[in-house]
């Protein structure tokens, strides 16, 4: 009897549960993708914050926009392109590689190469200085004799 009552209760409550649609903003898959994308973007109002973390009004609007685009099935790249076409490369935390950013991307390696070049030059000069004989042949012989003599 008790078992049948339970089954009845479950049958009644199941559709009730199903009816209650989750608010779209809480769709965990969408939210996860939103956070992943928004963390790559700078908030334009509070420039030290990412779009994911900012509480600025515009950031909220943009998150809503990205959420809507994710639900429309847009890829991460498409969402990024949407944002860049409106706010410029500035919204990206990782600037793209293109002629205007070559110095930014390759400048450090240029400096590294320069540093290695200078180091190489200095070491070569020091080597050359070290190769110059500082002992006369007699002194050298004397030194060798001293080193060989075990006593």
């Amino acid at each position: 009897m008790m078992r049948w009552l339970w089954i009845l209760v479950l049958c009644v409550s199941w559709p009730v549960q199903a009816e209650e649609a989750k608010p779209l903003a809480e769709d965990p898959v969408v939210e996860q993708r939103l956070i992943k994308i928004a963390e790559e973007m700078r908030c334009l109002v509070c420039q030290n914050e990412s779009l994911a973390g900012s509480r600025a009004d515009l950031a909220e609007d943009l998150r809503r926009e990205i959420r809507a685009q994710i639900r429309q099935g847009k890829s991460d790249q498409e969402v990024m392109a949407f944002m860049v076409s409106r706010y410029g490369d500035f919204v990206r935390y990782r600037p793209p590689v293109k002629p205007t950013t070559w110095l930014l991307w390759f400048g450090p390696f240029l400096l590294l190469a320069l540093g290695v070049g200078v180091l190489w030059r200095v070491l070569r000069q020091r080597n050359r200085a070290a190769l110059e004989p500082t002992l006369s042949p007699e002194q050298k012989k004397q030194a060798e004799a001293l080193l060989r003599d075990p006593s």
């Binding site: 334009l44 515009l58 609007d61 926009e65 409106r86 706010y87 410029g88 490369d89 500035f90």
Partner: protein
């Protein structure tokens, strides 16, 4: 014996001067002025209700063949008050169409604002949810766009229009585009 002068000793000095020059330029730039990628691109299309004409709409297509201004403003925007007298003076002196984009605002507040301080706009579009603002890359109200006869954005003023910006940038550009 005099030592031979070694030019390599000057390298750190030059490097330092270069660093100072980079910083002097970089630190004196306003990081809030983000160059818009929309310059020289077609003005994004929209279809929005007019603030003052119930049932009427505005679309940028209506201004094809004219140089026009799009001024993004709101009644809650403090700096909009600052540029408002300049806009009023401009609209009285020139016949350039100026469209207001009332951004994320309550129509009642906007109407009261225009009633209190004067209406410089040819017409005002209501962008209640800020969606058109996103298309225009608006991130700080007020912002002003100069659109040419072919519907291409040619200039963007971020922040309030100053008398200097109007005289040195906007007026000469409008004159040139109207040719």
């Amino acid at each position: 014996m005099t030592r031979k002068f070694n030019a390599w000793f000057l390298i750190p000095l030059f490097a330092f001067v270069g660093l100072v020059a980079f910083m002097a330029i970089g630190l004196n730039r306003d990081p809030h002025l983000v160059p818009s990628p929309l310059i020289d691109r077609p003005a994004p299309n929209f279809l929005l209700p007019q603030l003052q004409g119930p049932g009427k709409t505005i679309s940028p297509g209506a201004f094809r063949g004219q140089v026009w201004l799009l001024n993004v403003w709101a009644s809650w925007c403090v700096s909009c008050r600052e540029e408002h007298p300049i806009l009023l003076k401009f609209s009285r002196a020139h016949s350039v169409p100026m469209v207001g984009l009332d951004y994320k605002d309550q129509p009642a507040d906007a109407l009261k604002w225009l009633g209190d301080y004067g209406d410089p706009y040819t017409m005002t579009a209501v962008d209640a949810d800020g969606r058109v603002g996103i298309d225009y890359g608006v991130y700080g109200v007020p912002e002003t766009y100069v659109v040419d006869k072919n519907g291409i954005i040619r200039y963007k003023q971020i922040g309030p229009i100053t008398p200097e910006a109007l005289q040195q940038n906007i007026m000469p550009l409008i004159a040139e585009l109207q040719k």
